[in-house]
């Protein structure tokens, strides 16, 4: 076929092969180390930054932050029976003043950063200045912004000696150890050597894994830190892949590209179980608790309406739609969480009661139309699409029309920051919320306080002095039991006043291959990877 443009074609093919061969220059990572290699498909849209703190929400902590770094305290994630709470970590022990404003931490000796330098009080002060002191030479604006929440009650800090640090808080604050679990310490030498802008490429902490490869947008490799101070690390290597699509995470798992898939599509669970995968589920502090717009009608000052909608939700039906990877919520936190209250009954599915209350609220069937904003995706949101259509049907069954407003997750976050009284969002009656309900007592402040810690009003307009009093009191109790007594009281008020749509609790679905051993599913968003191994039995 001489007439075909064959010379041109062969040239292009040759060029193509050269291009591909060129791409083939780098070497793969080598054989799996002892303890195995755990490849993970995350639901995050990108690799979390190995910064302090990481981004991508709690998934960033789970896969990157807690592996590369340690905090002064840590949550005991190696057990499944109780809610993980602050334990000594880089701080061996601590004492607090009677008025809960002055804390003295005794730092652990002999801990080294991944680059070999020593962890000591100077490293702690360095990091606090780096995140809080604008005039500090190594102040990091970006990390400071994301860390602001953790430092909200810090007043001052000082080094007492090489292994002692003192922190003063702005008010009596019993929950400092919880905040400290999320504050990580990078190696000061590495920060000084590369500067803040390039630090992420060379991240170095004290944690059980060292970052050995980082390609933004594609993968991150974490290799065992053989000199880890706390426990011998069994797992050899972790490889992280970002994959925001549940269907794709499922394909990656089934095609053998990963050993661990976060939240695959719930319908695949039965088939995966049949194929021998380990289905991990368990109660943990995560719920879908949409917030009523309390700034105006119809929800402001209309308790019976809020209660009516709570009774209208067919939670069991929603759970069935999700193949039971979630379960009905009766109140804000799950039964088993220390903040759970047994004093006030929660909400259940009762259509007749819902209709009665709706009438009491002053609305005939067909009279009320609500607008609800929800995200189309985003990790930690369970399955908004499916759930919202069910909610729409449930409300329609009692005569309430729901207009669905799907938005990007980023936009929903903006709404949470701007607040529902902002002009561009004030048509929204109910705002989707997927809080880590009860993971840390510090997590309640944004949704429950009348004014957010930064000074801005509650984004949904919730303002109840009884809640404020209970939450504040809880944060000022020296002993843990009293703290939870007040938190339960707060939950009582929230329940009695139906401030939220108490909808679903999540069961933390993840699927791992049969090769993965030693995994303990804690009642937490975070995971302890040190005791996991991957390989044949």
């Amino acid at each position: 076929m001489r007439t075909r443009p064959s010379p041109a074609l062969s040239f292009v093919l040759a060029l193509l092969l050269v291009v591909l061969a060129g791409c083939a220059s780098a070497q793969p990572s080598g054989p799996p180390p002892s303890g195995g290699e755990l490849r993970i498909a995350m639901s995050a849209g990108n690799i979390p930054f190995p910064s302090t703190p990481p981004n991508e929400g709690y998934e960033g902590y789970r896969f990157v932050g807690n592996n590369i770094y340690d905090g002064l305290t840590r949550l005991n994630l190696d057990q499944a029976s109780t809610l993980p709470s602050p334990q000594p970590s880089l701080a061996e022990s601590w004492t607090m003043s009677k008025d809960l404003t002055t804390w003295t931490f005794k730092l652990r000796q002999g801990v080294k950063f991944h680059d070999g330098t020593t962890f000591d009080a100077d490293a702690v002060i360095f990091q606090y200045d780096r995140l809080r002191t604008k005039t500090f030479q190594y102040y990091d604006t970006k990390s400071a912004a994301s860390a602001a929440a953790l430092f909200r009650y810090f007043k001052s800090w000082r080094k007492i000696d090489n292994r002692t640090v003192e922190i003063k808080t702005t008010k009596p604050y019993a929950w400092l150890p919880w905040d400290l679990a999320g504050i990580f310490y990078p190696s000061p030498s590495v920060v000084k050597q590369y500067g803040n802008n390039d630090y992420n490429k060379h991240a170095s902490g004290t944690g059980p894994f060292r970052m050995t490869k980082y390609v933004d947008g594609e993968e991150m490799e974490l290799t065992r830190n053989d000199d880890y101070w706390r426990v011998p690390v069994k797992l050899g290597r972790i490889v992280l892949y970002p994959q925001p699509e549940p269907a794709s995470r499922l394909s990656m798992l089934q095609s053998g590209e990963v050993d661990w898939a976060e939240v695959p599509s719930p319908d695949s669970v039965d088939q995966l179980k049949k194929e021998g995968y380990q289905i991990e589920m368990g109660k943990y502090p995560h719920g879908i608790m949409p917030r009523f717009n309390m700034f105006r009608a119809p929800f402001k000052d209309n308790l019976v309406l809020r209660q009516a909608l709570n009774y209208a939700l067919d939670r069991e039906g929603t759970a069935a739609l999700l193949n039971n990877v979630g379960y009905p919520a009766t109140e804000y936190v799950y039964d088993g969480n220390p903040s759970y209250t047994k004093n006030t009954p929660g909400y259940s599915y009762d259509v007749e009661k819902a209709k009665k209350l709706l009438a009491e609220a002053g609305y005939q069937p067909g009279q009320l139309t609500l607008t609800m904003a929800y995200p189309t995706g985003g990790s930690g949101n369970m399955y908004p699409d499916t759930m919202m259509q069910k909610l729409q049907a449930d409300f329609a069954a009692i005569g309430v029309t729901t207009v669905l407003k799907p938005m990007e997750w980023n936009t929903i976050i903006s709404i949470g920051l701007d607040g529902l009284q902002a002009k561009q969002w004030d048509d929204i009656d109910i705002l989707w919320a997927s809080p880590a309900a009860g993971m840390m007592p510090t997590g309640f402040s944004a949704s429950f306080f009348c004014n957010r810690p930064g000074g801005l009003p509650n984004a949904a307009g919730l303002c109840d002095p009884k809640i404020d009093a209970a939450l504040t009191a809880a944060s000022q109790q020296a002993d843990v039991a009293s703290q939870y007594k007040y938190l339960q009281k707060m939950m009582d008020v929230a329940l009695q006043n139906a401030y939220f749509l108490f909808w679903m609790h999540d069961l933390n679905l993840r699927v791992v291959t049969s090769n993965v051993h030693g995994y303990v599913q804690p009642q937490s968003w975070w995971v302890d990877f040190t005791q996991i191994t991957v390989g044949k039995d």
């Binding site: 001489r2 007439t3 075909r4 443009p5 074609l9 292009v12 193509l16 291009v19 591909l20 061969a21 791409c23 083939a24 220059s25 780098a26 070497q27 793969p28 849209g45 990108n46 930054f49 910064s51 981004n55 604006t141 970006k142 912004a145 994301s146 602001a148 929440a149 909200r152 992420n200 933004d216 947008g217 594609e218 892949y241 994959q243 699509e245 794709s248 499922l250 394909s251 990656m252 089934q254 095609s255 590209e257 990007e408 997750w409 980023n410 936009t411 976050i413 903006s414 949470g416 920051l417 701007d418 561009q424 402040s445 944004a446 957010r452 810690p453 930064g454 000074g455 801005l456 984004a459």
Partner: protein, 314 residues
């Protein structure tokens, strides 16, 4: 020839300006805030304004556009606070991934399309003509994401012989080919279909023209006649190929989303969702520039091949 080139390039410049303005306007109309990913609930209004100030979001729009344009012309496309990287850095990484996918898809699609179109055009009414017709019709009508889903289900989910996604381009030729197969198949089918159709139509057109009759009448062998047919038929194929290559280089959002291919399409789509304005602006500018350049090259090639076009252009 040089005049043609200069004229074309000259016309391209205002187009690119226009493109950058359109993109800028579009992005700034989006609801949701650009700083949402960087601020936390606990920040005061003042702190939030400070972040906005730093991102330059509080300046009036024309000013922001001019700032951005000025920097872009000097090669600085800005810094993405959300991804903590220079935008140009991000673009280079994404562009090279898309380029590999695009080049392979283009070569695959265009060469097969040319071959089938040629066969169909020179053997009108035959079986090969009909088969090509059916294939190109299917290629045009099947949405790429539908094809991708089916291919994934069969090869990655069912047979488990191919990966379900990801661009493993740095682990050896074999891994690269494995990760390219399904995305290339999904993305090149439409190129193949369009090329086959245009080639066939063009060949039929030329083959039926008076000029070819004249050649036959002059006594040229069938073989020689076919060569002339091809040379004259190539022009519209070039144009569409250029459009196809340009489109492929723009990155198919759908194929890249389904196969997790970290290219330009996926980058732009994620950036739009995350309101990462600088990335969107920089990426669309690069895509548009690529498209314009590719079309320019095609136009020049055409002018070179076909002297009649040269005259018409000026």
């Amino acid at each position: 020839m040089l005049r043609v080139a200069i004229t074309r390039i000259g016309m391209a410049v205002p187009i690119l300006f226009g493109v950058s303005i359109i993109v800028f306007l579009l992005m700034n109309v989006l609801p949701g805030s650009a700083e949402a990913g960087l601020v936390s609930d606990d920040m005061s209004a003042a702190e939030r304004q400070a972040i906005r100030d730093e991102l330059g979001l509080n300046d009036p729009m024309p000013l922001r556009y001019l700032h951005w344009l000025g920097d872009a012309l000097q090669g600085d496309l800005g810094y993405s606070a959300q991804r903590r990287r220079d935008v140009s850095d991000l673009l280079i990484q994404a562009w090279s991934n898309t380029a590999v996918l695009a080049i392979v898809s283009a070569v695959f699609g265009i060469s097969i399309g040319l071959w089938l179109g040629y066969l169909a055009g020179t053997r009108r009414g035959s079986l090969i003509d009909r088969v090509t017709g059916v294939l190109s019709l299917s290629g045009l009508s099947i949405p790429s994401f539908f094809l991708a889903i089916i291919l994934l289900a069969v090869f990655a989910g069912g047979l488990r012989i191919l990966p379900s996604g990801g661009a493993t381009l740095d682990q050896g030729l074999w891994m690269a080919i494995r990760s390219l197969v399904l995305p290339v198949l999904s993305g090149s089918l439409i190129t193949m279909a369009i090329t086959a159709r245009v080639t066939r139509a063009s060949i039929v057109d030329v083959a039926g023209s008076d000029f070819v009759e004249t050649l036959r009448a002059k006594g040229l062998s069938e073989f020689e006649v076919r060569r002339h047919i091809l040379r004259n038929a190539i022009s519209p194929v070039l144009t569409t190929s250029g459009v196809q290559i340009g489109a492929l280089l723009g990155g198919s959002v759908l194929v890249e989303t389904i196969f997790r291919w970290p290219g330009m399409g996926l980058l732009v789509f994620t950036a739009i969702s995350a309101r990462d304005l600088l990335v969107v602006q920089g990426a669309t500018l690069v895509i548009a520039v690529t498209f314009v350049l590719v079309n320019l090259v095609v136009d020049l090639l055409q002018a070179w091949i076909d002297p009649r076009v040269r005259g018409a252009v000026s």
